[in-house]
Assembly symmetry: C2
Homo-oligomer: 416 residues x 2
Amino acid sequence: MRADCEALDAADPLASLRTQFSLPPDQIYLDGNSLGALPVATGARLQAVVAHEWGTELIRSWNSAGWMDLPNRIGDKIARLVGAGPGEVVVADSTSVNLYKVLSVALDTIGSSDERRTTIISDASMFPSDLYMAEGLAAARGLNLRLVDAARDLKLDATTAVVLLTPVSYRTGELLDMHAVTAAAHEAGALIVWDLAHSAGAHLVDLHGCNADYAIGCGYKYLNGGPGAPAFVWVHPRIVNARPQPLTGWLGHAAPFAFQTSYTPADGIQRYIAGTPPVLSLAALECGVDTVLAVESFGGMEALRRKSVALTTLFIEAVLYRCAGTMEVVTPMEPTRRGSQVSLRCRNGSDAYSIVQALIARGVVGDFRAPDILRFGFTPLYTRFVDVFDAVEALVNVLETRAYEALEFQTRAKVT
Amino acid sequence: MRADCEALDAADPLASLRTQFSLPPDQIYLDGNSLGALPVATGARLQAVVAHEWGTELIRSWNSAGWMDLPNRIGDKIARLVGAGPGEVVVADSTSVNLYKVLSVALDTIGSSDERRTTIISDASMFPSDLYMAEGLAAARGLNLRLVDAARDLKLDATTAVVLLTPVSYRTGELLDMHAVTAAAHEAGALIVWDLAHSAGAHLVDLHGCNADYAIGCGYKYLNGGPGAPAFVWVHPRIVNARPQPLTGWLGHAAPFAFQTSYTPADGIQRYIAGTPPVLSLAALECGVDTVLAVESFGGMEALRRKSVALTTLFIEAVLYRCAGTMEVVTPMEPTRRGSQVSLRCRNGSDAYSIVQALIARGVVGDFRAPDILRFGFTPLYTRFVDVFDAVEALVNVLETRAYEALEFQTRAKVT
């Protein structure tokens, strides 16, 4: 009943965090796992950076406004969300480019010590950009990329060089046990790279606790940094100084302003920066990260995870109760095995893309993932229990009225 | 005389272009070669992107607001400034990362056809980030990086694989003959990569006319795209499809939204995109590029170059007349051999850094480049002839009063 959901919202200790966002009043936005919503603070912050720091202070803002320090300052904030320490995370480039850096280093590290380790293990349901990067790096080194069903069988052995996985599948929402998988990779003698794109700000991540090797992640999903926000990168301190990363740009240099002609990598994660920091994007990202850090006053990431589980559980139960005949729940039913999203599939073969579009026409914004997935993200910072209720009722209406059959759509381009 | 400069401004056909910028009234800004000034249009454009496209339209803006097309749309605009064709330039990543892409491809192309070509030729006065990237790529392939004085002797021979140069030295402002150098590289059997960071929007560049192979460039200098703006990349159409570039991210895929598990590079320059486009930074960059394209109604890049030469000539002549005893002009005197900047050095060994700081304290913003260069950029879009006059008078005053000797400064961090 909707009244029950209203009661859940009234009792929600995190309810006030929603006021941090500028949300369109006529939408139920369940796509924060693709593009996080706009923080209220972002517009004014960008105006200040543009008009004052850039427009008036100009070049001196690299120092006086702390522009040069933004990758580190925001990195330190993200570190608090993923179980990393201060000085261990920087914001730089895109998720794909950061993956190239860490996977290159991981492969070179393994390759230099054991040339029989010739296989990268990943999962067919990884976001494709990760697979493309791994494919390219493997081909350049004469290695193999083997795609497994990571939640069922990792297929690790003495030929495994690096395990590249995401804790949360972008398609199914299935959540891996990072501790167990990391331990299994290490036991097999491999290094592990985690892509936290669907994890940072969404569920509990403890990079030090699980003793991971490398991690990268995205700024524009649960971190609410804005479309195409810069990404982050972490390397465990025990190995961060072992090698330079391949994109040896000037701001990863030990002394960038000495303008030396030869490269000396900076100590620590600083060496994973390449070019000049993208200040405008970084300013927006910081506002987004701050919306997640606000949870620290309300029980922290544990509380955020509790609400996320409650939202996804409610959604699954409502779909099973109201649409069991037509919709299959792809995401695991056990809360410990799912991230902050739920994926559905049509039992009757109806077109998932058209159903998503019919829902959007009713103001319920989820998204479609080829070939047949309806995907709904539940950002616990701004999603209410009544939103879950209303979204399922809209889905029931779309299915009952077969509204989707009348729809035709020109373009299918979408962004994860 | 200042009145003569006022007359030059009154007669300047490009004078009205200055109104496109929001310039601080108390400064003479001669550092647009490091960070371009703020366009008036940028603030409102960013607010519209943030509040409407992101805040209200959210994920659908990837299509409805043309976000996905920004790298190509802005790339096409930049192409008009550098003698490239439509569909040949994309905006992506940073200058350093784009250099990694094209230099990798160039080296692999040469290496696969002639393994005796083991040397990258560059110049010791290249911006260090380029040298660091070249050093790293050379080391990974067992090749050599040889630094020459490109304007005097390129030292090309049968071992030359790739020539990596910038038309305008960031330190001295010296301008190379792109046609002659490109022809020399090709005659020697090498490929050439041009870094247009100090060229695009500053002087005449004709990539097709000189039959270059690869070019990259920066968005935040003469293109006025804002601090850390994204960069651009061009590859000649005759070779762009020959190989994939190494950063094989999803938006360089032939069908990114098919979410295939295997990589197929897109046709053309599109394959040089890696991750998701940085929308906020791209929106700001487009405003900046538009300020340069505005010159198309006032005689085009030829007119902009004429004014640039007039400004740098005036500055050099005034420095020679007023400070000949103390300041040496490092930049070549022949207009055809210099970009849109002038670099000075102290004859008496005084500290260039302190002089630059003393000038800044008087509202004349140039910058310092280690170890002994005073650098002044003359962006012809917004620099007036009276600004040149006043800047030189301020320099005279600083030198005569020895104001710089009293100054102490804590930080020297600066950005090119």
